[in-house]
């Protein structure tokens, strides 16, 4: 939970408790803690959310010890609004009213993917660990934006911005180690459609510590 903000609803608190309790890959301690917090969730949701977030962050550090180097090209899919808010170079972002006006500009260019790549922020880390949900690139082959949204079980509308992370570049970035996400990873992302059984049709999601910008080989625009 970001410092200084104690907020959230009882519904969110109870969702967090439920997914932690149900994920038997997690340690007994955090699962017991979630059960204890259930009694408080309805009356003091901000406090419970805050506690679960801290516990989840600690547990994520422990789980990261089991992470392995990636073995294939990966991809990270986000909405154009998230690209605008978090991946666009600040000076570019300030030249637009909002994400919608940027989307219209990108769509009017002959090579939208190249436009996005050129406008990408220069920050060293492109995806902080908790937000680095990726999928083997081969599992997106031939999918249009609607199919991608269905495949990765997110609720936003197309277009989809696909960050391409080639294995060659991932290997050069020594910090990149991936593992299968579990309940505590869904918490910071508020990934309420997350399922313990993973994505449908055998697709696999992976989560990393931090993904450096140097691992980004290109960006695709799937309208």
């Amino acid at each position: 939970m970001p410092k200084g903000l104690e907020a959230g609803s009882a519904e969110m608190a109870l969702w967090m408790i439920r997914i932690i309790e149900e994920d038997d890959r997690l340690g007994r301690e955090i699962r017991n803690m979630a059960t204890v917090e259930r009694a408080r969730a309805a009356n003091r949701p901000p406090l419970v959310i805050s506690r679960l977030e801290r516990a989840a962050a600690d547990e994520a550090e422990r789980l990261q010890l089991d992470a392995r180097p990636p073995t294939s090209d990966l991809a990270r899919c986000i909405s154009v609004e998230i690209f605008f808010d978090w991946h666009l170079d600040n000076s570019v972002r300030r030249e637009f009213l909002n994400a919608e006006t940027y989307r219209r500009l990108v769509e009017s260019t002959p090579e939208p993917g190249q436009t996005l790549f050129a406008d990408l922020d220069t920050a060293e880390i492109v995806f902080p660990g908790v937000f680095s949900w990726m999928i083997p690139r081969s599992q997106l082959a031939g999918l249009d934006s609607m199919a991608i949204v269905t495949a990765i079980q997110v609720t936003y509308r197309p277009p989809v911005v696909v960050f391409v992370l080639p294995l060659e570049l991932l290997r050069r970035a020594p910090s990149v180690r991936v593992r299968v996400p579990c309940a505590i990873d869904a918490i910071p992302r508020r990934h309420t459609t997350w399922s313990r059984s993973g994505l449908p049709e055998g697709r696999t999601e992976l989560i990393d510590s931090n993904v450096p910008r140097s691992a980004v080989g290109g960006i695709e625009w799937r309208a």
Binding site: M1, P2, K3, G4, L5, E6, A7, G8, S9, E11, M12, P45, P46, I49, I78, S79, E81, I82, D85, W86, S91, V92, R94, E95, F96, L97, N98, A99, E100, T101, R103, R104, L105, E107, S108, F131, V154, T155, Y156, R157, R189, R190, H191
Partner: protein
């Protein structure tokens, strides 16, 4: 009764919870927060929302990700009432993104001129690059010269009155919809604005009370003005934009539910000479009436079957063994799959001129379990039901590719006219204001967006002479054109050919 301060506090708490629940890196956080906060608000609560959003700024200041979402909300939804809170935050933080947000809001005529002056003073006192100064100047002054091509685009977006030549610079720009707040109500206003943002519009609010006159370039010939105040809106805005025309003013009925908001969105898109908006498929567009969950629903009586299938009472009786209606309280009722079967059979025999057509088509479609959309379903003359697969159609039972003649059901659902007979209405929209869905009131044609059967309205209207006023009084939430349309449709249901 709650005081304004109580309401603002309640809305601040609601907004904080929404910001706590939203993922800052998923989907469209600003829209999700907006939807979450505005859903189900009462009129007074909705009125208190803008001030409350401003007041939570300092609470989010230590959470950069949530703060960015809030600034995005204030800009995108034109929450100009937050200007005083923004200025306080800027004075204490010097946050450039907050300054840009304030600059986006400053031209709104609801902003106090003293606040605009204060904003300019704060900008002048800040150490900024030339580029950032230009970024701000473009937002505050339509005569500022853009230093980059993208800033030229920004100026055209923010100051539509500066655009030269109709349609020449609209490529790459989002359509602007101005929402006039005279005679409107904040609760549905926020939901409508949420719909507009979701559809890709830039929203410009026109507050009921102006604290300053808008700059002339703030409006222009490409802006559509949505107004509930009729000609008053035009009279108020015309002096500030010489190139505005009557066609830009869209008089609106108060949208009372999601469906009427969707209809309004389509009207706006037409006024924008669209498609300019990204409008989701109509939530009642009943391609989904063919889905497995819907296809076997419905309970149509004989008069509805005759009207909607374009058939005759005698034919319906003759086909009783093939269609196998349910008997209830000594009446016969047919489900939607049986209606589709009868309509398709009638369509096929008229198309082929074979009036003694075998009933295989009927049995095939009655047995069919449903699919995604009518465009994916077809039927052959011998009653084999086909579903779309790849580039062609396959038998839904065997999976075999079919090459013989077939008819797609979306053709069957189009309105039909044959000889001198009364036309068969379209499905799922028998008329402009009525709609059929097997899961809604048994499938009988209802007023679009309401669960009110057309035949009930027609029945009421037929009780005496000049009963229209009586019907309007009974259903005050339904617009008059929809009532008149429903009476016509309901009359045909009650008195089929």
């Amino acid at each position: 009764m709650a005081s304004v301060a109580d309401l603002e506090l309640a809305m601040a708490r609601t907004a904080l919870a929404a910001f706590g629940d939203v993922s800052p890196v998923e989907g469209y956080p600003a829209l999700e927060v907006w939807r979450s906060v505005t859903d189900g608000l009462g009129r007074d609560e909705a009125q208190a929302l803008p001030i409350a959003l401003g007041e939570i700024l300092p609470l989010l200041a230590r959470s950069p990700d949530r703060l960015r979402i809030l600034l995005d909300v204030l800009t995108t939804f034109d929450v100009f009432e937050s200007m005083p809170a923004l200025l306080r935050y800027i004075a204490s933080s010097g946050d450039l993104d907050a300054v840009i947000c304030a600059a986006n809001l400053a031209p709104n005529p609801g902003v106090n001129p003293a606040d605009s002056t204060r904003l300019q003073q704060l900008i002048d006192s800040m150490r900024l690059s030339n580029h950032d100064r230009n970024v701000l100047a473009i937002r505050l002054d339509p005569s500022a010269e853009p230093t980059t091509q993208r800033l030229a685009l920004l100026r055209a977006q923010l100051w539509p009155g500066t655009r030269s030549g109709e349609g020449t610079v609209d490529s790459g720009l989002a359509p602007i919809v101005a929402v006039d707040e005279i005679n409107d109500s904040a609760d549905f206003r926020w939901q409508l604005i949420g719909d507009l943002i979701s559809a890709g519009a830039v929203v410009r609010r026109l507050p009921a009370t102006w604290l300053k006159e808008p700059q002339r370039a703030w409006l222009g010939g490409s802006v559509v003005v949505l107004s509930w105040s009729g000609e008053a809106a035009m009279a108020r805005l015309a002096p500030f934009s010489s190139d505005m025309t009557v066609a830009q003013f869209l008089p609106a009925d108060v949208p009372t539910n999601k469906y009427s908001r969707e209809r309004l969105l389509r009207q706006i898109d037409n006024a924008l000479r669209g498609p300019r908006l990204r409008i989701a498929p109509d939530s009642r567009d009943v391609p989904d009436m063919m889905e497995r969950d819907s296809y076997r629903l419905g309970s149509f009586d004989a008069r509805e079957m005759v009207y909607l299938a374009g058939s005759r009472s005698s034919t319906l009786q003759r086909l009783r063994l093939d269609l196998e209606p349910k008997e209830l309280n000594s009446g016969l009722y047919w489900s939607f799959n049986q209606l589709v079967a009868l309509r398709t059979w009638e369509f096929w025999r008229r198309e082929t001129g074979r009036f003694r057509l075998p009933t295989d088509v009927l049995r095939g479609l009655v047995a069919f379990q449903g699919a995604e959309t009518p465009t994916q379903v077809a039927v052959t003359g011998d009653g084999r039901v086909l579903v779309a697969s790849g580039q062609g159609f396959v038998d839904w039972k065997t999976g075999q590719v079919v090459s013989e003649d077939f008819v797609r059901l979306d053709r069957v659902f189009q309105p039909q006219t044959f000889g001198g007979r009364r036309p068969t209405p379209a499905l799922p929209t028998p008329s402009a204001f009525t709609r059929v869905h097997p899961g809604v009131v048994g499938g009988t044609p209802c007023v679009d967006g309401y669960r009110v059967p057309a035949r009930a309205i027609a029945g009421l209207a037929m009780e005496g002479v000049n009963q229209i006023e009586k019907v309007l009084a009974v259903y005050p939430e339904i617009p008059e054109p929809a009532i008149l349309d429903a009476i016509a449709v309901g009359g045909q249901v009650l008195h089929p050919a």
